[in-house]
């Protein structure tokens, strides 16, 4: 089992981190989320094309980089920490589904960064469904794909990522029951990696603020009430990171452990991320309640991510089944 990133993974992290810090700092995130497309297409183009991240886990022979889910987790942790708007997660989930089910044509465009795609997750709802080039629907053991169909943008709690009602269905793109089952577990790991980033960034924000905000002539970070809450949040972060690394390792190296690891990852990360984001917001005091402060964007992303793959009890029930309780 490997729970510590390799030097190569650390390099990848640094590269993504530097890119996002330059191309999509929080003021840019705010401009993007209020813009008509809801994200900066240029940032997405560079992320997908220049950095090749939409094809990261796509095999080389199908146009991708052929990296593992441990690498993908490192990337999603950073896009999560940066609250990157746009269809990167949606397209990544689509790439996972198409890779695991052996699809090739759509995947080529996704891996090349020229096609955006999304997966219908819940009835007729899809992340970035209004703007995706291709909408994928899981129907039993088949993956359906369509580029047409009605789309209707939804209002969302999380202003940094859009959702839409879409028309499910389309042509059969691939058939693979096992591939679909594995893809669903990989979705859980991918979202958990994003949640880890949101959690970490929320904690970092309040730690930094508590070192400079003064109340009663002391920085608030010197009060035990604040310190101890932050220590507990740090404990949560340590466990969250350990679980995400484990689940990503299982995805790459221990397929038999993946279902349990994936359910564990969603069951832990969903709650953990919202609790830390929520604690971070509250400890910011009144400033954290303003629209201009970023705390609420993390809080809302955390809540949206917590229910993205279904309410938390779904993952807990799955874990119970896998544990044969």
């Amino acid at each position: 089992m490997r729970l510590v990133p390799t030097p190569e993974q650390r390099e990848l992290r640094d590269a993504v981190c530097s890119f996002l810090a330059a191309a999509s700092p929080m003021p840019a995130v705010r401009r993007a989320m209020e813009s008509e497309p809801g994200h900066d297409p240029e940032v997405y183009r560079r992320l997908a094309g220049e950095l090749g991240l939409t094809g990261l886990t796509v095999p080389e022979e199908r146009g991708g980089t052929g990296a593992g889910h441990a690498e993908l987790a490192v990337v999603l942790e950073e896009t999560g920490a940066a609250l990157l708007p746009g269809p990167f997660l949606a397209t990544t989930l689509a790439a996972i589904l198409l890779t695991e089910t052996g699809e090739k044509e759509i995947l080529a465009g996704v891996a090349a960064g020229t096609t955006t795609a999304t997966v219908v997750l819940d009835g007729n709802r899809a992340l970035n469904g209004a703007e995706a080039d291709v909408v994928l629907t899981i129907d039993g053991d088949r993956v359906l794909a369509r580029t047409d169909g009605e789309r209707r943008a939804l209002r969302t709690l999380d202003p940094t990522r859009r959702q839409a009602l879409v028309e499910p269905g389309g042509e059969v793109a691939a058939v693979s029951a096992a591939g679909i089952a594995r893809a669903r577990d990989l979705f859980a790991v991918a979202v958990a990696a994003e949640q880890l980033g949101v959690l970490r960034a929320s904690l970092e924000a309040i730690v930094a603020y508590s070192r400079i905000r003064v109340a009663f002539n002391r920085v608030i970070g010197s009060y035990q009430a604040v310190k101890h809450r932050l220590a507990d949040m740090h404990c949560t972060l340590e466990q969250a990171e350990s679980i995400v690394r484990y689940a990503a390792w299982a995805a790459d190296e221990a397929p038999a452990e993946l279902p349990g690891a994936a359910a564990l990852a969603q069951a832990y990360l969903g709650r953990a991320c919202f609790e830390v984001a929520s604690g971070s917001l509250l400890l910011h005091g009144g400033i954290g309640f303003t629209w201009e402060h970023d705390a609420h964007l993390y809080y809302k992303r955390a809540k949206a991510d917590e229910v993205l793959l279904g309410p938390p009890r779904v993952h807990r029930a799955r874990l119970a089944d896998l544990l044969e309780l």
Partner: protein
């Protein structure tokens, strides 16, 4: 009249006179018609004897006790009264003037306040002075016949409608911070006062920022003594906590989409785990409701709740977060994404501008219950929930109060008590 009879009469009056309409909170800023209607209702309330229930009769009140006030509030909780815009005046500013104002101030201000003719706001908090109110920086400099005020306030509810404000400002930066403050009555229509809506995390402007730029205040508008503003503010804050605990100006739970009664209708109670979570919410809701009722009964029996009201406020803040979180977690995806023109759509901060073609709610092919069943109500609730834990004192401040004033534990060591204000640290500075 005994309390039950009082309560019965209040209910009868409310049934006859309270419309089941908005409380003036939503859209108030852009809806002067709403404020006009609220003023009309307030005049009726005053004439019926339900405004200023505990205030002295001499200044327009009813001279009754907290027990009657709580009885009325308990009955009013079943209605949605348009009194929000008056809540600061009734709960905080007015009671402060009753306690500390000059007779001239009381004569001029209290009756118009109670009748809803004039609206009040409270001007204490500043960007760098939240929990630590006494660290405020707004300056009031003495001048001919009065004072000149410069500075900025924040988190001011209903300021956009306010005629008067209760202001706390620094009149002497050379003495320790608690000693250099003075309280004033400020005319919100005076030159130099700018009110700017403050957009909060719900996407709405529940609050305002207020800028003072050379605003003149006449000498007779000082409340209490010059330099005694901290003690005056303590009086105001005490009234604030009592009014929150007493439910003054607070709506009921009846339309709250994250309260137990709503969730029992919407949640999947076939799942025993969901049922267990709802039981937990019921337990916590009942526990707090019973505690509030007990405090009310003790008050009636002459036992002053004092700082125990802060325990009720803390519990309410935690329950508010808990139930919003629970409701969204139980609902799942539809809690966080919904069709924009749903009836209760309530989050202008959300994205999605209707540019897509029309896809109906029910016409998706592949899902069972996977349609956008939410109407934004849960999303709004989870966005608004932190307000209860931040306004009127954070949870940490409440815990300090409960531990120090109820349990009599010693305060933290303080380093800001005997140092001139101008020598204190401010946020963002390195430690001295």
């Amino acid at each position: 009249m005994d309390l039950e009879e009082y309560r019965r009469r209040a209910r009868t009056w409310l049934e006859a006179n309270a419309q089941d309409g908005p409380d003036g909170r939503a859209g108030g800023a852009s809806d002067p018609g709403g404020v006009a209607a609220a003023k009309e209702f307030m005049a009726k309330l005053y004439d019926a004897g339900y405004s200023g229930i505990t205030w002295p009769a001499e200044w327009g009140g009813q001279g009754l006790t907290q027990a009657e006030e709580r009885a009325f509030a308990a009955e009013a909780a079943a209605f949605t009264l348009p009194t929000y815009v008056f809540s600061i005046g009734l709960g905080m500013c007015g009671p402060t003037l009753v306690d500390l104002g000059t007779d001239a101030q009381r004569r001029r201000h209290l009756r118009p306040l109670l009748r809803g003719e004039e609206i009040w706001c409270q001007l204490f908090s500043e960007p760098a002075a939240g929990s630590d109110v006494a660290a405020l920086q707004t300056r009031a400099a003495a001048t001919d016949g009065g004072w000149v005020v410069d500075g900025q306030k924040v988190w001011t509810s209903v300021a956009q409608h306010a005629d008067w404000g209760l202001l706390l400002a620094r009149t002497d930066p050379d003495v320790p911070k608690h000693k250099g403050l003075t309280m004033f009555i400020v005319d919100m229509h005076a030159p130099g006062v700018t009110v700017r809506p403050l957009r909060d995390m719900t996407g709405r402007a529940h609050f305002n920022e207020i800028f003072f730029d050379g605003v003149h205040i006449p000498a007779e508008n000082v409340v209490g003594r010059v330099g005694d503003g901290w003690n005056c503010a303590v009086t105001t804050l005490l009234h604030e906590r009592l009014s929150i605990a007493g439910g003054v100006g607070m709506g009921g739970q009846k339309d709250n989409p994250v309260a137990f009664e709503a969730l029992r209708r919407t949640a999947d109670t076939a799942d025993p785990v969901v049922r267990d979570r709802l039981v937990e919410l019921h337990i916590r809701s009942r526990a707090l409701a019973l505690f509030n009722q007990r405090l009310a009964q003790e008050t009636k029996a002459g036992i002053f709740p004092g700082a125990r009201g802060s325990a009720a406020k803390l519990l309410l803040a935690e329950l508010t977060m808990f139930q919003a979180d629970l409701a969204t977690s139980l609902a799942g995806p539809e809690a966080v994404a919904w069709i924009e023109d749903g009836p209760g759509d309530a989050s202008p901060g959300g994205t999605g501008n209707g540019e897509g073609p029309g896809v109906g709610t029910g016409d998706g092919a592949g899902g069972d219950g996977g349609t956008a069943g939410g109407d934004g109500g849960l999303a709004h609730a989870v966005s608004l929930a932190p307000a209860m834990a931040l306004g009127g004192g954070t949870n940490e401040i409440m815990r300090n109060i409960v531990s120090e004033r109820v349990l009599n534990l010693p305060p933290e060591p303080r380093t800001d008590k005997n140092v001139p204000f101008k020598e204190l640290r401010t946020s963002g500075e390195a430690p001295r």
